[in-house]
């Protein structure tokens, strides 16, 4: 039976996306992903640790999942607890003892790479000690411009002069049980496997060969088995970026006639939604409230020296709420991707436009019994642009769907109500009960320092829920927040909407069921936040795409277009915390109290986000941005008053609870809260 194997690349405790072995972008927390893979009954899992440090950093303390131990060896037993499939573990294995440590923590196989080249006798020794089946040799091959293949080690940095097929044969002789063959030049490219490379290795050995490196679409898997003779096919990136990628990839392999275990979408022993221990979670919350009452703040008691750097082009700080990465010159990933997009030749956007049309064409209702697609709209400038583009430029019939969080500004409310008129489209506005909203506002603030948890989860659930209900196979989102703000992914990933992203980034690991049992909330009260099941999504073929992957995207331009063509109103009252007037009119707290909490936690706010984007698109200088940031980021906004009345809380209580969330790497206490500020 052939196997389909997801590879998780771990760097300093977080899953990363890799490109040509050199660029690593942070994807998220392995626990959510492993749970999901168990859910889908995957054939096997390969976990490769490419850490550069012994410790890792989740970067923030407002996430539900925190690790007890910060090292890989500490993480492994936690992963093993969610992993009832064969688990191969690689990275930083130096000797028999380091292998023994991994087996003792739940690994079934160890993956050797550089060390096998340096000390081949380790392969034989390991094979004797643990059995050949427990020893996988990972071979990283680079194809030179002249077509010659060469094995590289040390994460692709060191050439060895060896040919992959010959080295694989030697590994078999030394006692290896399996070969994992990876292509350095195909890594992260999305171009498909180097089939000749895979076949050369398959022909050289009689042990199973696992192909890896380059998969960009589900169709890329099968040829490695049918043409190149691999026993198993593996990939990393694709499984991070597409909804139900594993079952869909399997479906494609099975359709190609490959003999594999059947698709399975549920595992009754692991629900997709995390399970929480209500008593323990209540105790955690109570402890935080006690700290707030006693004014015991972590940041005030931390003695370490605070360090902070900023992107050399925009204003992004090194410690942020987002998984931001910087290159060797201190340029942030957001700027790198923005520069790359600006350098796109026109025909690249034309190519992307064609792909978008194909996706929409596939979703088009053939008999008029349903809408062609759903657009999740807040009534903001981007919603206007999305609807304009899909309906009036491309000619499809969308259903607009809105989660109504009860925090609309006056102008935002008018913008929302105007959409069905100016676009002449159907529009469903979903309004949760206000009593429930008040509870969720309060709980979100107390539990994770964010009253808008309900909004993030509502917005990321309702459009998918309505689409599933009406069997509409496509949901169109605007921009991918992290991709556009911090350039988290390559433009070639064509990142799609996923449950994992919703839970991990929108929900911070707090799924709807977390709230059940708090303030008397029952499961039935939380229907609005319950995501469609994997089975429903799979049966409909439902997927969510981001428009910003296919058309040039600029918030300022979207706002101009919305005003000129459709009477979109910008705010009549300026915001307290940012100079932009056209953003976030759907939620008065999003630019206000919610954003102030980001400042309290991480030391920066939305003005940094807005100014960074404006610097990248060339409409603002860095010096102008710094002036704005220093003026706006620290401002305590006036909408807090409305929120406090809404949820019946005093300002003193608010401030004290907020202070428990201050990040000790940013803030210190010295006659008041202090932090480093960005300088010109």
């Amino acid at each position: 039976m052939n196997r389909l194997i997801p590879v998780i690349l771990l760097k300093n405790g977080l899953i990363v996306r890799s490109q040509h072995f050199t660029v690593h972008q942070s994807i998220g927390n392995p626990m959510h992903t492993v749970r999901r893979l168990s859910n889908w009954n995957v054939d096997e899992l390969i976990l490769l640790d490419i850490s550069t440090e012994d410790r890792h950093d989740l970067r923030r303390s407002d996430l539900q999942v925190q690790y007890n131990d910060a090292t890989l060896l500490g993480l492994l037993p936690e992963i093993a607890r969610l992993c009832f499939m064969p688990l191969a573990v690689g990275g930083r294995i130096r000797d028999i003892e380091s292998m023994r440590e991994r087996f003792a923590r739940g690994a079934d196989k160890c993956v050797l790479n550089s060390e096998a080249v340096r000390q081949p006798e380790l392969v034989s020794e390991a094979s004797r000690a643990f059995g050949a089946q427990a020893v996988v040799i990972s071979v990283d091959a680079l194809r030179h411009p002249d077509g010659r293949l060469e094995v590289h080690i040390d994460g692709g940095k060191t050439a060895t002069g060896m040919e992959p097929a010959a080295w694989a044969r030697e590994c078999e002789r030394l006692g290896a049980g399996e070969i994992l063959i990876n292509s350095i030049d195909r890594d992260g490219s999305g171009l498909g496997y180097d089939l000749e490379l895979v076949q050369a290795v398959v022909d050289a050995v009689s042990i199973p060969v696992i192909a890896c490196g380059g998969v960009g679409s589900y169709e890329h898997f099968a040829p490695a088995i049918t043409q190149s003779g691999a026993s198993a096919v593996a990939a990393a990136n694709i499984f991070n970026f597409h909804e139900l990628a594993y079952p869909n990839a399997k479906k494609t392999c099975l359709s190609a006639g490959i003999h594999m275990r059947p698709i399975s979408l549920t595992n009754k022993w692991f629900t997709r939604e995390p399970q929480y221990n209500l008593e323990a979670e209540k105790a955690k919350l109570e402890k935080r409230m006690e700290n707030a009452r006693n004014r015991t703040f972590t940041a005030a008691h931390d003695q370490r020296e605070r360090k902070m750097t900023w992107c050399t082009q925009c204003l992004y700080p090194s410690l942020s709420a987002t998984p931001m990465e910087y290159d060797a010159n201190g340029l942030c990933m957001g700027c790198q991707i923005a520069n790359l997009k600006q350098d796109f030749p026109d025909d690249e956007w034309i190519r992307r436009g064609k792909i978008l049309k194909e996706i929409l064409e596939q979703a088009r209702s053939s008999d008029g019994s349903r809408h062609d697609c759903v657009i999740g709209v807040s009534g903001g400038k981007d919603s206007y642009f999305q609807t304009h583009y899909v309906k009036n430029v491309l000619g499809f019939n969308p259903l607009l769907v809105t989660y109504y969080g009860n925090n609309y500004t006056v102008a935002g409310e008018r913008n929302l109500q105007r959409m069905s008129e100016v676009f002449d489209v159907d529009h469903i506005i979903y309004k949760p009960g206000v009593g429930l909203l008040k509870k969720l506002n309060r709980l979100g603030f107390k539990i994770m320092g964010d009253m808008n948890w309900h909004g993030h989860m509502g917005i990321s659930t309702i459009p998918m829920k309505i689409a599933a209900l009406h069997k509409i196979p496509l949901v169109i989102w605007g921009e991918h927040g992290y991709a556009d703000l911090c350039g988290q992914f390559s433009m070639n990933d064509f990142v799609e909407w996923t449950y994992r992203n919703r839970l991990e980034h929108f929900g911070r690991g707090y799924e709807w069921n977390y709230m059940v049992g708090h303030e008397g909330i029952r499961a039935i009260d939380m229907v609005a936040y319950q995501y469609p099941s994997d089975q429903e999504i799979f049966d409909i073929g439902l997927k969510g795409i981001y428009l910003s992957n296919f058309v040039p995207w600029d918030g300022n331009e979207n706002s101009k277009l919305a005003s000129e063509l459709y009477g979109f109103e910008t705010g009549d009252v300026p915001f307290d915390r940012t100079y932009r007037r056209a953003s976030n009119l759907d939620d008065m707290h999003e630019n206000g109290a919610h954003d102030y909490l980001k400042f309290v936690k991480f030391g920066y706010g939305r003005c940094t986000d807005h100014a960074s984007k404006d610097i990248r698109s060339g409409v603002m200088t860095r010096a102008e941005g710094i002036d704005l940031v220093r003026r706006y980021d620290p401002t305590k906004p006036s909408d807090i008053k409305r929120w406090l009345e809404y949820v019946e809380m005093s300002e003193g209580e608010f401030d004290a609870i907020a202070d428990t969330f201050r990040d000790p790497r940013v803030w210190w206490y010295e006659d008041g809260w202090k932090k480093h500020d960005i300088e010109k």
Binding site: M1, S38, A80, G106, D108, G131, Q133, K268, T271
Partner: protein, 216 residues
């Protein structure tokens, strides 16, 4: 957890201290059992359901069992007190009379038969037999296991296999080249799987759940 919780049956896992039992412990916990780990003979004497996991060499495991007195305690548990035993992978092979792995070594003798080397059947079937193999269950096996577990695939890793003296004790079989091998063995209250249910995803966990709730 959506699946039914057990009435917290205590499952005693024998730790031979030659391999890790973490995965087996985790799997039993997931299906709702209360796990107790034992490392000596006295601790076995009042056990209810005994699980004997194992990876590695038969000889090392058999010597540990005999040297520690656990061999006699397990036989007493199964044959005199008539309490259930579940052997997993090497633990299943240890239920046999003897093994031919690197010499001849005595097992627990709870199910008549011997353990012999698998024969290569290239190109598809090579020793060690590693991977997902479909298992066909007999009617006998389905007295304890739900029919839904028949013809599911389970994760196998082994170079030797259990040849039962009486074919009726081989109640779940899989194909290895021209040979049919015992993937499940069973006699009275003694049960064994050649594969690793703790590494076989939902089907494996379902199987463990059925054993822990059904074996008396």
């Amino acid at each position: 957890m959506t699946a039914s919780r057990l009435g917290a049956r205590i499952v005693t896992v024998v730790d031979l201290q030659i391999q890790n039992i973490l995965s087996v412990e985790n799997a039993l916990q997931v299906i709702g059992a209360h796990v107790k780990v034992v490392r000596d003979a006295t601790a076995i004497s009042n056990a209810d359901l005994l699980v004997l996991p194992g990876v590695g060499s038969f000889r090392a495991a058999a010597e540990r069992l005999q040297g520690s007195g656990m061999s006699a305690a397990i036989r007493d548990h199964a044959l005199v007190r008539k309490r259930p035993v579940v052997g997993l992978c090497l633990g299943m092979q240890l239920l046999a009379d003897f093994s031919e792995e690197h010499g001849v070594h005595t097992g627990l003798g709870l199910i008549p038969g011997n353990v012999v080397r698998l024969e290569d059947a290239p190109p598809e079937y090579r020793v060690p037999n590693v991977g997902w193999r479909e298992v066909t269950l007999s009617r006998e096996a389905m007295n304890i296991l739900p029919a839904a577990l028949d013809r599911r695939s389970y994760y196998h890793v082994h170079s030797y296999h259990f040849r039962t003296a009486d074919p009726k004790h081989s109640t779940g079989t899989s194909v290895f080249g021209p040979a049919t091998i015992a993937s499940v063995v069973q006699k009275d209250n003694v049960f064994g799987t050649q594969f690793h249910p703790e590494k076989s995803q939902e089907a494996g966990l379902d199987l463990l759940h059925a054993l822990v709730t059904g074996l008396r």
